[in-house]
């Protein structure tokens, strides 16, 4: 088709315009009626989704990818900064998925946040976040990507601290900003390195000119950025703390879109990484460590949102492992499928929380299978997809990753950790389902349980369809760029499945113990998991204390005390005072004093005379 590129370009621009327009109307119109959020924003996202399907289908049909460069923004001699959008496979696939998930979440949020007086502002924040995310994903140069990066960071801060009167929410928002800031240092370092060494921030130019250079330094910067944004081990505590925000925020930001921004950055810049074994090994080990560590932490959590948060962190570690395996396409596939079921899990948890009158502790839930069947069915579907049940969405990406891991000649330790984490994923998912759905209710009798509302069931159903079908659709539509290993022994092929079933079985067996008296097991074994590996305890106390103490030492003691008290004015004062007192205290009125001084001086002079 000769005008394919025009259609693609135009539909993408229309998508963007549809997304941006509610922001402008909210500025122009002073008073917004109560239903503005539903009428404008949710509708805008829905329309944008349908509009973005057009580029998706065109891309799947013809394989078209294009880059739109609009505006020559600024230049410093030969260094140009433009606004350009790259619509390649990654962004064309991701944008509709993000819009679909956001549409479901916004519809859910119109019920969840109904009693909030600032609901219009909430939706506007979510929309601005979405725009920033789209900017990040479609960026063709690092500058635009950085704009999107910082945009999602700021919106995450605002949205986590939505209930800002709550002290925990404020500290959680601050924690998010600080940890991501550490990652941003890496990103800015990489930006600087690329500006000075590669002379461009455009992706195409970077891919070509980086072939011959030693890319260790910028890649470490990128990995640091991904560690901060995607909550890898070392900069991970902000993600469980971010559950202080409302459930739609957790669903959108901290499950589907924002935590994958770091991984997306690495996927986007994977041509730079594919020849650098150091960076790849770093990713591999970091990801394996993250996935196992957070899975262990998730095993003993009692807050339903925290379980899902840790599972997000664990899946993001898995994505990092995939990048370390030099399989960016599989990581991207996992990003897309993960978005569906994780958002659905969060939405289900939101329904449960509201239904039980803001109860988030799974030890106080139970038997909800009979009371809110749609929600719990979706919870089960989401958990099964998370575990990698065959032919649900998670299977296509997760199983492919485990196969690639098993067939590679890389680090066996990373492999072992990842397999262990996979089985433990099944365990904590089962624990969550067991406590929430099964057995008898443990909550007070008069709970406002109601799911007969269209705003709840429609998003859940849409996301459930997505969870079931997305993996299949995506795998069938596009051939993977790297050919996967197709022949392997059966035990390798079935590893993921066997491990998952093993974890599931053991967890089921353990679940039978809950209503029987067993000898009491000492809690010492659980402390590592319940204290989140002691990481927040150590890090959040040690570093602030050290820096504050150091600054106090430098500021008050080294500068003020030293210069003003010990060497400056106060010393002179005290010194002179003591000398003055000594001098005037010699006079006691005795003649002995001056006579003896005279004779002593005389003797000294006489003695000195003979030398």
């Amino acid at each position: 088709m000769p005008s394919l590129h025009i259609i693609l370009t135009t539909s993408f621009i229309i998508t963007l315009v549809i997304l941006i327009s509610p922001v402008f109307t909210s500025i122009l119109y002073k008073s917004l009626n109560r239903n503005w959020h539903t009428h404008h924003i949710k509708t805008a996202v829905k329309m944008a989704f349908f509009t973005s399907l057009l580029p998706l289908f065109l891309h799947h049909h013809t394989g078209t990818e294009l880059t739109i460069t609009n505006l020559h923004w600024m230049n410093i001699m030969t260094f140009d900064i433009n606004t350009s959008f790259k619509l390649d496979h990654l962004s064309i696939t991701f944008v509709p998925i993000a819009l679909y998930v956001t549409w479901a979440i916004l519809e859910f949020a119109s019920w969840y946040m109904k009693s909030d007086p600032n609901i219009n502002q909430f939706f506007k924040f979510l929309l601005i976040f979405l725009i920033a995310m789209v900017t990040l994903v479609t960026a063709n140069n690092m500058f635009q990507l950085f704009i999107g990066w910082e945009g999602v960071g700021i919106m995450s801060f605002l949205l986590i601290g939505w209930w800002w009167a709550r002290a925990d929410a404020n500290t959680a928002a601050l924690q998010a900003v600080l940890y991501k800031g550490v990652g941003d240092v890496g990103l800015i370092f990489t930006l600087g390195w690329m500006a000075t060494n590669l002379n461009s921030w455009e992706m195409q130019q970077m891919y070509i000119t980086a072939k011959s250079l030693d890319m260790n330094a910028p890649l470490i910067g990128l990995i640091l950025a991904a560690t901060g944004k995607s909550a890898q081990f070392g900069l991970h505590p902000w993600l469980p703390s971010a559950m202080e925000g409302p459930t739609p925020v957790s669903a959108l930001l901290h499950s589907s879109t924002m935590v994958v921004a770091g991984i997306f950055l690495l996927v986007r810049l994977s041509p730079l990484m594919q020849d650098n074994p150091f960076a790849l090994t770093t990713c591999l080990i970091l990801g394996a460590l993250t996935t196992l560590f957070t899975t262990i932490c998730a095993l003993t959590q009692n807050d339903i949102k925290k379980i899902i948060a840790f599972s997000t962190s664990s899946q993001s570690g898995l994505m990092m492992v995939t990048i370390g395996l030099n399989q960016p396409y599989l990581a991207f596939l996992h990003i897309c499928t993960h978005a569906f079921f994780k958002a659905m899990l969060f939405l289900c948890s939101g329904v449960i929380i509201h239904a039980l009158n803001n109860e988030q502790d799974i030890r106080k839930m139970g038997g909800l299978l009979y009371l809110i069947p749609t929600t719990t069915s979706c919870l089960t579907i989401g958990s099964l997809a998370l575990m990698g049940t065959p032919f649900l969405a998670g299977f296509f990406s997760k199983d492919a990753i485990i196969e690639a891991l098993n067939n590679s000649y890389l680090n066996a330790w990373a492999l072992a950790l990842t397999l262990l984490a996979t089985s433990l994923t099944a365990a904590y998912s089962l624990r969550m389902i067991f406590f929430v759905n099964m057995n008898f209710p443990r909550f007070p009798a008069l709970s406002p349980i109601n799911e007969n509302i269209k705003s709840i069931t429609n998003p859940l159903k849409r996301l459930a369809w997505g969870t079931i079908l997305a993996g299949d659709l995506m795998t069938c539509a596009v051939l993977p760029p790297k050919p996967p290993m197709l022949s392997m022994p059966p035990y390798i092929k079935l590893t993921a499945l066997v491990i998952t079933i093993l974890g599931l079985t053991i967890a089921l067996e353990l679940a039978l113990f809950t209503n029987k008296q067993r000898p009491y097991m000492p809690k010492q074994y659980f402390y590592f998991s319940t204290m989140l590996g002691y990481y927040p305890t150590i890090m959040h106390r040690f570093f602030p204390y050290t820096f504050l103490k150091l600054s106090q030492t430098i500021g008050t003691m080294t500068i003020d005390q030293t210069w003003l008290e010990k060497t400056g004015p106060k010393t002179i004062t005290s010194l002179n005072l003591s000398l003055a007192t000594t001098t005037s205290n010699i006079q006691k009125g005795m003649m002995k004093t001056f006579l003896s001084l005279f004779f002593t001086t005389l003797m000294i002079i006489i003695l000195l005379n003979y030398y």
């Binding site: 002179n576 003055a580 007192t581 001098t583 001084l597 002079i605």
Partner: protein, 350 residues
């Protein structure tokens, strides 16, 4: 005091110094010094209270010790050398002994401890004489002795300046403050003595003018402690106006005449490359300046807490006329305005 007695004593005082100034033989010099000492003793003890008696006794013992040492060293030198000329002494040991004796007479560190006690014990007029007139004779003798060990004079000079500074900081009695100030000024004089006698003489002269002005001012105010200075504004407002300038001249601030000796001494020392001496002397002058500032603060710059009606001058037509009060304008003028005349003054002395 009986006026006949007063005339005899004052004449003897003048005679003693004149004898010393005009002598070339050590015996005559010693004689002049002794006459001066004996003449001032009744002046010091004229009040007959224990403080004055004690001051007189101490003064006599100090001066006698110094004179005895002087005589002993002079005779030894005469025996070894064959003559008793003041200006041709060559034996280093006895030169040093004589120097030390003269420094004890002048009241320089480390032999200064008698000065504050003596000057505190006597009245302000007698203190004036002790501080100014009695310094002339030993100073002239010091000028004439050649070949004094240079470090001796330097160390004693610097020590005097420092001790004069530190000692005065802790005092509230005005006479003691002036004693320490005299120690400090004599330290300055001693510092430059071996390098330029003209400057030393000029410094002594300016010191005499300044100290005289101060003593006479204090006599007029009848103040002997700092607290008594605070009512000066009621008794003599003109003095209240001028006193800070006078005290700052003692401290050595331009454009007052007390600045000239310090300035030239520092210049001379610097030209001769005695930088550490000059630095220490200059910084130690700040110590003295601090207590002069305290005095000027009490006189002029502060008012004790009182209410509005008391701010008026409440002693009117107070006849303040002491014998020395006619000398005050002259002394004050010399204290304040002599700086522009320094070059011609120096040529007079050289």
């Amino acid at each position: 005091m009986n006026p006949y007695l007063l005339i005899v004593l004052l004449t003897s005082l003048g005679l003693g110094t004149a004898l010393t100034l005009s002598s070339t033989h050590w015996l005559l010099a010693w004689l002049g010094l002794e006459v001066g000492t004996l003449a001032i003793l009744p002046l010091m003890a004229q009040r007959h209270h224990p403080r004055a008696t004690e001051a007189a006794t101490k003064y006599f013992i100090v001066q006698a010790t110094a004179a005895a040492t002087l005589l002993f060293a002079a005779f030894n030198n005469a025996w070894l050398q064959g003559h008793s000329d003041i200006q041709h002494m060559s034996h280093p040991l006895f030169t040093s002994m004589i120097t030390l004796a003269l420094l004890l007479k002048l009241g320089l560190a480390p032999m200064h401890t008698w000065m504050p006690q003596v000057i505190q014990g006597v009245s302000l007029n007698t203190g004036l004489i002790v501080s100014t007139w009695q310094k002339i004779a030993p100073f002239i003798l010091l000028l004439q002795i050649k070949q004094i060990h240079p470090p001796l004079l330097t160390i004693i000079g610097l020590a005097s300046i420092l001790i004069g500074g530190w000692g005065g900081l802790n005092q509230t009695q005005l006479r003691k403050i002036l004693a320490y100030s005299s120690i400090a000024h004599l330290g300055w004089i001693l510092l430059i003595l071996q390098h330029s006698t003209a400057l030393a003489t000029y410094a002594l002269l300016i010191y005499i003018f300044m100290t005289s002005a101060t003593f006479i001012t204090l006599k007029k105010c009848k103040a002997t402690t700092i607290n008594m200075l605070t009512t000066t504004w009621t008794k003599a407002p003109t003095i209240t106006l001028v006193a800070p300038l006078m005290l700052l001249s003692l401290g050595g601030l331009p454009p007052l005449s007390g600045f000239a000796p310090k300035w030239f001494i520092l210049q001379e020392l610097t030209q001769l490359n005695f930088i550490p001496h000059a630095s220490i002397a200059a910084m130690a002058a700040l110590l003295s300046l601090s207590y002069y500032l305290r005095l000027s603060y009490s006189i002029t710059l502060s008012l004790s807490p009182n209410n509005l009606p008391e701010c008026l001058q409440w002693r009117v037509n107070y006849p303040i006329s002491t014998p020395l009060s006619s000398a005050l304008p002259a002394a004050l003028a010399l204290t304040l305005f002599l700086l522009p005349l320094t070059p011609s003054a120096l040529t007079l002395i050289i």
